[in-house]
Point group: C2
Chain length 222, copies 2
């Protein structure tokens, strides 16, 4: 039988640093606002941009950020109405702060679906892309967040051009060197009647995507 664990005590403090979580957030957001060029964004996207910068440590992220003027209101309304979040990456799903969601919204990722490997082979595409097709019956009115695979964003656009149900909003921030920039250019250039948010170029990923979702989930920053 294991011995009763004792309550650990704080180590002897040797370094100087802020150790209050709320104070860290406040100081971080103030630094970001002082250093970032936020003027070119829709006014209601400012808190979203700040949180995305916070998740990446890079104020110049804002220069590549593009936000459709209807994105923030559409995504907020959908989440307040209980819409699910559909994502291509487990890391995005795990990065959504559940306590910020207005309706305990579902966060869905089909990467673990047992049908997926065979489906991806049959379709001749990546699992990340094929996984979105497994969520097609949840697409209508949802918030779709692509934070990893360019193929998933291309696939989503092709589903919508083929007449799939319309999500309420698309957060399209895949990352990488092969197809990422092109998939985000396609998101901006292709009118599928859904407002979008994206970061042009190679940058992207699960952290900034989850940050965007966390900002959209609740208007209050803290």
């Amino acid at each position: 039988m294991p011995s009763t664990p004792t309550t650990p005590t704080r180590p002897t403090r040797r370094f100087e640093y802020v150790d209050d979580g709320a104070a860290i957030y406040r100081a971080s957001f103030a630094t970001i606002r002082a250093e970032s060029r936020l003027d070119s964004l829709p006014a209601d996207a400012e808190t979203v941009a700040v949180r995305m910068v916070h998740g990446t440590g890079q104020t110049d992220l804002v220069d590549d950020l593009r936000v459709h003027p209807a994105l923030v209101s559409a995504a907020r309304s959908a989440l307040r109405a209980g819409a699910p979040i559909l994502t291509d990456a487990r890391m995005v799903a795990s990065g959504v702060t559940r306590a910020r969601l207005p309706r305990d919204n579902e966060v869905l990722c089909a990467l673990g679906d047992p049908r997926l490997p065979a489906l991806a082979r049959e379709m001749g595409t990546t699992r990340s892309a094929a996984a979105l097709s497994l969520l097609e019956d949840r697409l209508e009115g949802s918030v779709v967040a692509i934070g990893n695979a360019p193929t998933a964003l291309f696939h989503l656009l092709e589903m919508l051009l083929d007449g799939a149900p319309r999500p309420a909003a698309i957060i399209g921030c895949p990352v990488g060197f092969i197809g990422a920039a092109e998939s985000k250019d396609a998101l901006v250039a292709t009118d599928v009647g859904v407002p979008w948010l994206t970061v042009l170029g190679r940058r992207g990923g699960s952290a900034m995507t989850a940050s965007a979702l966390n900002a959209l989930a609740r208007e209050e920053e803290l």
Copy 2:
């Protein structure tokens, strides 16, 4: 009763993109090698750097990357011996590709521990920092991966300076504007007898931290 779901078919293809997962990885790694300055790193850290760049879409990440000469061999040996991975962030834990782990290694994050809120209050520090103290009995020989909170990295160093058991390796890549750069400078400057990997400055985060772990878990890139 729901109708039997039909197998979805691939949408009509309209965009030109590579849709073969392995081909995307190969082309991505080749692009990164062509564009990154990898010469200043220890030779055995090259695949780690490439995978970290891959996870962020930024070749200049390498310029801020610092790798202790013993880091890669120490981390690989520990993981092959079955060592657990201890992390400060759920996103890091979910980003570790379980199929790459050599011994189905445990990936531990204490953020969900019910004792944590009270412990963090009592210690007067963040939950991310206090959570590491809850894992102190798993520290010896482990691979510790800090991918979010600067306070967690400072706290870890203070635990080690107080005589806590030695992990085999520290991946220290917290992100942000308040304390992140300073915590990583402290990691490099403080000799606690444990090899480390870090990215200096504000950049960091769960994606690059998980990428480093995935590269260390298996030598083969694909």
